[in-house]
Subunit: 456 residues, 2 copies
Amino acid sequence: MSEEKENIQFELTKELVGQVKQLIKANDDKELHKLLDEFHYADIAEILDEVNLDEATYVIKLLDSETTSDILTELDEDIRERVLKNLSAKEIAEEVEELDTDDAADIILELPEERQEAVISHIEDQEHKAEITELLAYDEDTAGGLMAKELVKVYETWTVAGCMRRIRGQAEEVTRVHSIYVVNKEEKLIGRLSLKDLIVAKNDQKISDLVKVNVDYVNVNDDVEDVAKVMAKYDLEAIPVLDDNEVLLGRITIDDIVDVLKEEAEKDYQLAAGITGDVDSDDSILELTRARLPWLFLGLVGGIGAFLIMEGFQDTFNKYAVLFFFTPLIAAMAGNVGVQSSAIIVQGLANDDVKGSVNNRLIKEMLLAALNGVILAVFLFLFVWVTKGEINTAFAISVSLVAVIIVAGLIGTFVPLFLDKRGIDPAIATGPFITTSNDILGILLYFWIAKMILGI
Amino acid sequence: MSEEKENIQFELTKELVGQVKQLIKANDDKELHKLLDEFHYADIAEILDEVNLDEATYVIKLLDSETTSDILTELDEDIRERVLKNLSAKEIAEEVEELDTDDAADIILELPEERQEAVISHIEDQEHKAEITELLAYDEDTAGGLMAKELVKVYETWTVAGCMRRIRGQAEEVTRVHSIYVVNKEEKLIGRLSLKDLIVAKNDQKISDLVKVNVDYVNVNDDVEDVAKVMAKYDLEAIPVLDDNEVLLGRITIDDIVDVLKEEAEKDYQLAAGITGDVDSDDSILELTRARLPWLFLGLVGGIGAFLIMEGFQDTFNKYAVLFFFTPLIAAMAGNVGVQSSAIIVQGLANDDVKGSVNNRLIKEMLLAALNGVILAVFLFLFVWVTKGEINTAFAISVSLVAVIIVAGLIGTFVPLFLDKRGIDPAIATGPFITTSNDILGILLYFWIAKMILGI
């Protein structure tokens, strides 16, 4: 969490990585220190992501644990896992000692069960140990799983002067003081103060006179995404976490929320693209296959569905072969419209700005799809009419295109709303899921309507 | 930016909105005050998003400008625009007086040119006016366009005691003190202090002894997205903004970055779904059409392309009708694979973790696509063989499926990398763009390979 030793210009170059590898090879610890000490731990982490496991471990063991503990938190998850394998429980415990309780708990949670015990048992600072153990008990997706125990707390009965004295001690423990939390003797949160308020106040004032009551807070069991929404909406940089009795348990800071928001966005983006699980472009081919193949298989099944439908209409074929040549167009339009409307709904749900009844939504999307559909259909009609000279066929194809687009829009709107009501992440509705179902339905609708109009 | 007067439980109910509308109708200002004063400005903004323009304006004119100025910053952009139309330049100036310089500048920038002048001329606080005018000059997408002038600044020559005295004054101006910036007499940034450091320090210590040098900073012309990356990477809550001579101009706080990150994520998500421009589900049908139709039109053109290709292969048709029934499957697979691989690259580029040469990327994607393709092709082969009993056709279709998937993967990987090199946002490469081009290419490849294998 340090703001020091870095500026925007850092760039990870081949040369730099090569230089580090060289120094490790030469066991030139002195030079290596000189080189790496210039960098922010987040940058050293980027360098270590590029070297091999032994080299990374070498650096981790070389630098002092104050730096390396921070580096560990910034490493690629899979690389960190492998580095930790190379460290003894005692060595990991030393790293953990240096970390804030929330980061410490996150690292320990990544370890295999049996090692977790061992590492915890090696933590010397008893209070730190107890706090970490407490955090390990909370579900990762709750406020409790995200919060840190580090915070500055004062009692309502204290004076400003007394406060200043007391918090000098506490503040040294806390990387950043956002708010000073004021509690009563039962440790229940009754309000907050900013350091600013304290500095601006007179020394003999009572805290109870300065405290700002009804401060924002979250319950320890609140969902992380809800915490993120609240902090973003109210521009909070820290929020206290209370238990059901309003006892102050910890605090969540905005930098953790920034990470939550980024992960959320990436997850939704990948789901929309038909990728499950948190993979990135540097993962192994096997990991990427596991994330991508299931959705492709869904597409395959959908394609086979489309095949069966078209085969079913084979008889009309010899007369109107042209109909079949437009199936990719129909499928594409059905897919695109479905993805567009579902994406808008999914995003609206994420921002809580989907208001009004489901029916109004569907009516609006129907009008929207109809408008787009008619515009597109006119072009298609003209194209078929001019190139094929068959006005009936042109008419049949265009009319069914409009119908297909409307239905696709309705499905794209309804499915995410339905999933959301059922408590399922609507984001899975975008991408391949919608495309595939709309492909099939669209093609079926298309042939059915065209057949009717052409009276085959 | 206040942390007061709200907690996570706020919920926007029909009843509440109805109650507000009632009180406005009855001109019951006293009750309206009582009701709304309970809420955080961000919640009042949500309420005003739900009432009609006159009602919203009524509330804005009723409440004191300290609250309403914050409400304005939280309103839906289009609603804010309409509300501001109902306010006189003087009234807007009063709102602006209450806002931090960055929010003030944002509001003014949304006004039509001629009104901007008028509003600025009505700002009474001359310093505030000068600072806002300065901010208006910077490009919205740069650090200068995002920064605020409010910050706490001390000179290296001061003592801790002197500092404390001096910053009491400045601090009252600043919503939150993240860092105290230390400058020399030329106003050049030489480092920073935290309030914590100051509190923990002795009164007679010189600032120059406490200052933390090489602090992070950004240049006033740096791109907003780069600023966001730096602040997220280094977990910064505020970063100073310097001009080319390292003179301290302002600071950017994390809550603005949170907004930038959210907007970025939404833009990419929408692009991937074939939606351009910043629209949300509550926008008008016309706005939504403008955002969606162009991509659908692209799909239409692609579909016509597919039609022409299939027509070109019509002669082979009577013998192998079955080939045509699989075109939707081929198109779907080509599209899905393309979107998957492009999404991973786009995301990798956004996170700066696309390393190594383009060739390695393409080779990796080729292997990945080949692996997925073969697995899928085996299923398809068995299906066709079993259901149609034509082993040659089954073989032809499966082999071309593999080829199509590999090419689709390569295009999905190459196009975003290419666009990025050209300085174009690679996000436009996902979604309809890739799907459409892959549809056409896939179908062409499919018929061509199948034809060869079947020796037609």
